[in-house]
């Protein structure tokens, strides 16, 4: 279905027809398909697994594949950040939360029965893809594989623009992160006084803890 979606859309065929882009099996194309397969498989497994840890691990694989695609697009700084921030920090946070919650789902899906899931899922997916790809056809005139200058997408280039043109956004995001840290601590902490001071474990009903 994915291949059909790719090659049945008019803009891609128009680009093939004008002979501007590579039609055959170049090395880049093979790598693109390999990483695209990894990302799509990981994404599909993430949204379909009943076991939470399986979903988290497949999302980690998805993020690694996406980092490879950023590297293919000469976004080296973002590729490194993707691995460090997304796969390395956010997914570790998800893993810890899954450990704390520690249960598999009894009934994971909002609709019961395979047929109703397919009947809603496939048309929804098809509609979304067609709608979004319709906008893509109008805008995508460029070639994403030609040579670019040597300092494109490096840490220096992105850092220069972050610290000059977008300095306010950078500083605002740092404050946002500070707010998020404080909010996460306040929301997730226990509000019972004995638990909060670390004197008792959350499972104990009473508050006696000093006498052991």
């Amino acid at each position: 279905m994915v291949t059909g979606a790719f090659y049945s859309l008019a803009p891609a065929m128009a680009e093939f027809a004008t002979n501007k882009v590579d039609k055959g099996f170049s090395t880049e194309r093979v790598f693109f398909w390999a990483f695209a397969l990894l990302v799509l498989a990981g994404a599909t497994m993430t949204v379909t697994r009943r076991n939470n840890i399986s979903a988290v691990m497949s999302l980690v694989g998805t993020f690694f594949g996406l980092a490879a695609m950023y590297a293919m697009l000469q976004a080296h700084f973002l590729a490194a950040l993707q691995v460090l921030v997304y796969a390395g920090a956010i997914m570790v946070l998800f893993t810890f939360v899954v450990m704390v919650l520690n249960r598999d789902e009894a009934e994971p899906w909002a609709f019961h029965g395979v047929f109703s899931k397919l009947a809603i899922g496939v048309p929804a997916l098809g509609y979304l893809v067609v709608k979004i790809a319709g906008y893509v056809g109008e805008a995508a005139e460029g070639d994403a594989g030609s040579a670019s200058r040597a300092d494109f997408g490096t840490v220096a280039a992105v850092g220069k623009i972050l610290f000059t043109d977008y300095l306010f956004a950078f500083e605002a995001v740092s404050i946002l992160l500070l707010i998020a840290v404080i909010a996460a601590v306040v929301v997730a902490r226990s509000h019972k006084p004995d638990e909060a001071e670390g004197l008792t474990l959350p499972t104990e009903p009473s508050g006696h803890s000093e006498h052991h």
């Binding site: 994915v2 501007k20 939470n52 939360v97 972050l162 998020a180 226990s190």
Partner: protein
């Protein structure tokens, strides 16, 4: 040479998968992960267009999006943990306290 539309259509498919996960699943953790998928699809679109126009502005934008996604994941997970403390469940269908 890979046309930009390949990356853009692929990002569209990824976004659609994330949307389906956020709509069809009942576990709050899986919904949060699907939201992360959608944010990553948007990032991929940004980086693809940055490549087309040879501009690192979109890389800076994607960097900000990554930071905001990290903050949102942290607060969302804190809320999930807080809700689990009282309800002992992460099923979003059970959060009906504000329903009239």
């Amino acid at each position: 040479m890979i046309p930009a539309s390949d990356f853009l259509i692929f990002a569209a498919i990824l976004f659609a998968i994330g949307t389906l996960g956020a709509i069809l699943r009942r576990n709050a953790l899986i919904v949060l992960m699907s939201v992360e998928l959608m944010l990553n699809a948007a990032n991929l679109t940004l980086v693809a267009f940055g490549r087309v126009h040879q501009d690192v502005k979109s890389h800076a934008f994607a960097f900000i999006v990554m930071a905001v996604a990290a903050a949102e994941a942290a607060v969302g997970l804190a809320i999930v943990v807080g809700v689990f403390r009282s309800k002992r469940s992460v099923n979003i269908d059970e959060l009906t306290a504000l329903k009239h």
